[in-house]
């Protein structure tokens, strides 16, 4: 059984007060409580403040390109479906640059756990609007306010029948921990969108802003009712739901692929002798 110390990575280079600290701490606790040791999982991350996340833990890490976490995570899972694969991305990374991959990862239902640090702003590039920035948000790059309508990742995920859809808040860590654990335990592609206040660049969606609006979905709510899930997904404004919003039990992608039915791809020994008989088909 690992201790919290076992997950301690490099010293974070995030701004003091950043919502990411809360996520990092609770993430370590969740892994420890689930008895998943550092070498037993891989985190794939991209670029942005969230991209640095795996360095601040101890774990197998592929910190790749901006927006491309999910294809890398998919490749890892298909080659080693015995290992837990977690993708960590920001709202710009996952909903902007990598939007196409998100759509197709949900369609495939690859058993990857995706945690999006959603601060509704671009942090690393110093404060431009992100896909989840609220319409009208003024930044240096959007001096007249962001023109596009805000992306609703939860509604997008429900529409695409994403296997597990949840929303958490970095300022509500016990609740977030439960969501992280549920997502990891769920069989299927899991999206956890985490409100993560950017204390430096987002002066609208602050801790206080979220605290006033975010409420816990009541225990009797049935996340397997897709119509109800849509209703919750569309709630925004004075009241914003947090918790497991949608869940289904679609078969995962890995189970459909003949090549990995018998064993994990990386464990398969290679037999060159078959080539000879295959070459005979060309005569």
């Amino acid at each position: 059984m690992a201790t919290l110390e076992d997950y301690k990575g490099q010293t974070p280079a995030w701004c003091p007060g950043c919502g990411n600290y809360g996520i990092l701490n609770v993430f370590k606790e969740a892994l420890m409580e689930l008895d998943i040791e550092p070498h037993q999982f891989t985190i794939v991350s991209g670029i942005g403040q969230a991209g640095k996340f795996p360095h601040y833990l101890r774990c197998n890490t592929f910190n790749g390109l901006h927006g491309r976490t999910l294809p890398v995570a998919t490749g890892i899972r298909l080659s080693n479906h015995g290992m837990l694969v977690i993708a960590v991305a920001g709202d710009g990374d996952c909903y902007g640059e990598g939007g196409n991959h998100l759509i197709h990862a949900m369609r495939r239902n690859i058993n990857v756990k995706l945690f999006v640090h959603d601060n509704q702003i671009y942090g690393l590039t110093k404060g431009q609007a992100s896909p989840t920035s609220m319409e009208g948000m003024v930044t240096k790059a959007q001096p007249s306010g962001a023109f596009p309508e805000q992306l609703n990742p939860i509604a997008l995920a429900v529409a695409l029948d994403c296997s597990f859809v949840a929303r958490g808040f970095a300022g509500d860590i016990e609740h977030l921990k439960r969501l992280i654990k549920e997502a990891i335990n769920h069989k299927g592609f899991s999206l956890v969108d985490i409100f993560q206040p950017c204390v430096t660049f987002n002066k609208i969606n602050t801790y206080e802003w979220y605290r006033q609006r975010v409420y816990h979905i009541e225990p009797e709510y049935n996340p397997e009712d897709k119509i109800e899930a849509f209703k919750r997904a569309l709630e925004w404004g004075d009241r914003i739901p947090a918790g497991v919003i949608y869940r289904n039990h679609r078969p995962i992608f890995e189970e459909k692929i003949p090549a990995i039915k018998k064993s994990v791809l990386i464990k398969q020994s290679f037999d060159n002798s078959k080539i000879d008989s295959t070459l005979k088909e060309f005569y």
Partner: protein
């Protein structure tokens, strides 16, 4: 004996079926075969053709002159009548084409009516045509009947018999009516293997233990994915059609990171999307093999045609400085071995390795006695199992003498495998300091490069060893250049230098090809592109400048007579 057969018609008329079947009949008959295709980017209509050359001597290029033209539409006659050789023959169905030709080299064969009469269906018109071609050549139907049986096994005895009857009717008609036919093709010998480059690339990957292939469909690379898919279950390969090329290369990198040999394939436009991923492979030192099928560009260009236009693109693209291996096979056999070499070097040095081909090569078929599996190298360079578990410490990007760090599998031991697209330290964590940066560049680039250079084979010299005239090329021009040397060496002191291992550029210590070039009276660089990319590369790498270049950039391959004529023109001026 050296005959060329052309089947022309609209897309959807079954040109490829006729061509593939004839090529198979000839290769099973033990003849040497070369075939290539020319088609438009459409599913129905337009004008396409399939050209087959058969001989009792090895053939590896298409000729301009045609001996038998199977015209399935009027356009075929308009376009190709002038290509007919002195004793050539055009066969067509006057009732289908609704026109009658009276010249002595036209033979009207009622493909459709014979099909109805003997096969009870018009669908078998192409079977009649194949039977007719075989009849004109004086071949029996045994081999073709065997192919019919294999093809229609699932459809039952009736369909097989109907097709055989249709083939007989076609053959019988041609034997009886083709009075000018004087073709003589010699006795059957031991069956040969008939294979194209796309299958050879896929087979090379399979023979190298490739377990993961992700790609987005794009001509001319799609065939690799399709062939691997057809073998995926048997060989336990994961083949994934990605949502785009960016995903394709990133998935393959994920798979490679996890511990399997991985590959992707695409063409120029798709590769343009992969470029950031290529740089990621370099920074994370993740092995990957990329099959890049060139076609005329810029942009969508001529999607179904050929060009050698992406050599410098493959060589120089992606941000940053890093080593990469580039191979450009000249034929399917070479493709098979070079894909294996690409996998070997990619994993040994943890670099990206390319296999460059083009549309012409992708759609050509060649005959061989056999492929030698003894030449396939399969060394597992990864650190796994007990060897990994027993290590006291592990750093993914550890500094070593050779620059190559041990490549461990994540999840197999307590040792963590960490890598990053940011510059990183030995463990794989982000750094900013100058000292580590310099050490990492030295490791990734300079140290490895010394060793990779030693792996690259010099070009092939074909023809006389101290030639007056040297023709130089790379990749798909191999066959046509080699045949040109054969044809011209009767009265010229000529040789070919063919490069199929291009980057790192071959050293001269194993074979001083530069001396051959410098000693020759004339060195001609032949490329299927507009600017002479290889010639530029040669000058950049060696200082040698070609005074003479032959470039073709009409989207079509070099044909034998046409290339010989061009070379002759230059030599004449000597």
């Amino acid at each position: 004996m050296d005959y060329s057969i052309k089947i022309g018609g609209e897309a959807g008329q079954g040109i490829q079926t006729i061509g593939d079947t004839l090529a198979k009949v000839f290769s099973r008959g033990g003849y040497y075969v070369f075939s290539h295709q020319d088609y438009e980017s459409r599913i129905r209509g337009g004008h396409n053709f399939y050209q087959i050359r058969l001989s009792d001597k090895p053939v590896m290029a298409s000729r301009e002159k045609i001996d038998i033209l199977v015209a399935l539409d009027k356009e075929s006659i308009i376009l190709h009548e002038k290509e007919l050789s002195e004793y050539g023959q055009i066969i067509y169905d006057a009732s289908t084409l609704k026109q009658k030709h009276e010249k002595e080299y036209f033979l009207d064969i009622p493909f459709a009516n014979l099909a109805m009469e003997h096969g009870r269906s018009k669908i078998m018109a192409n079977t009649v045509a194949i039977g007719a071609v075989l009849g004109m050549l004086g071949m029996e139907l045994d081999i073709f009947s065997g192919i019919i049986e294999e093809t229609f096994k699932k459809k039952g005895e009736d369909i097989i018999q109907a097709n055989v009857n249709a083939a007989r009717a076609g053959r019988h008609f041609a034997v009886k009516e083709c009075l000018r036919c004087s073709f003589s093709i010699g006795p059957l010998t031991k069956p040969k293997m008939l294979i194209g480059v796309v299958e050879a690339i896929a087979l090379g990957a399979m023979a190298s233990g490739c377990k993961f292939y992700s790609a987005y469909p794009m001509t001319p690379s799609t065939g690799i994915m399709l062939y691997l898919t057809s073998k995926a279950k048997d060989y336990e390969i994961v083949v994934e059609q990605a949502e785009d090329e960016i995903a394709a290369i990133n998935m393959a990198l994920g798979a490679s990171f996890a511990g399997v040999r991985a590959m992707t394939g695409t063409s120029g436009g798709g590769f343009a999307l992969m470029v950031e991923g290529l740089s990621l492979a370099a920074m994370t030192e993740t092995p990957i093999v990329i099959a890049l099928g060139q076609r005329p560009a810029p942009s969508t260009g001529l999607p179904t045609r050929t060009e050698q236009g992406d050599l410098l693109f493959a060589l120089h693209t992606a941000h940053g400085e890093f080593p990469r291996a580039i191979f450009a096979p000249g034929n399917p056999e070479e493709a098979f071995y070079l894909v294996n070499k690409a996998f070997d070097l990619a994993e040994k040095y943890q670099i990206p390795a390319f296999v460059l081909f083009d549309q012409y090569l992708a759609d050509s078929q060649w005959t061989y006695e056999r492929f030698d599996l003894g030449r396939i190298k399969n060394i597992d360079y990864r650190l796994r199992g007990e060897a990994l578990k027993n290590l006291s410490e592990y750093k993914r990007h550890a500094f070593t003498e050779t620059g190559v760090s041990p490549l461990a599998l994540p999840g197999e031991s307590k040792h963590l495998v960490v890598t990053d697209s940011d510059e990183h330290d030995e463990e794989g964590h982000i750094i900013e300091d100058a000292e580590t940066r310099i050490k990492m560049v030295n490791k990734r680039l300079f140290k490895k490069l010394i060793h990779i250079k030693q792996e690259i084979e010099p070009p092939l010299l074909y023809g006389t060893s101290s030639p007056d005239i040297v023709i130089v090329g790379w990749g798909s021009t191999y066959g046509v250049m080699k045949e040109a040397v054969d044809a011209l060496s009767k009265d010229k002191n000529i040789a070919m230098l063919h490069f199929s291992e291009i980057n790192p550029f071959p050293l001269t210590d194993k074979f001083d090809y530069l001396k051959v070039l410098k000693d020759a009276k004339r060195a001609i660089c032949i490329e299927n592109n507009a600017t002479g990319q290889f010639a530029r590369l040669m000058r950049a790498e060696t200082g040698f400048e070609f005074k003479t270049k032959i470039n073709k950039y009409d989207g079509r391959p070099f044909l034998l007579e046409n290339l010989i004529g061009e070379i002759d023109g230059h030599i004449g001026r000597l």
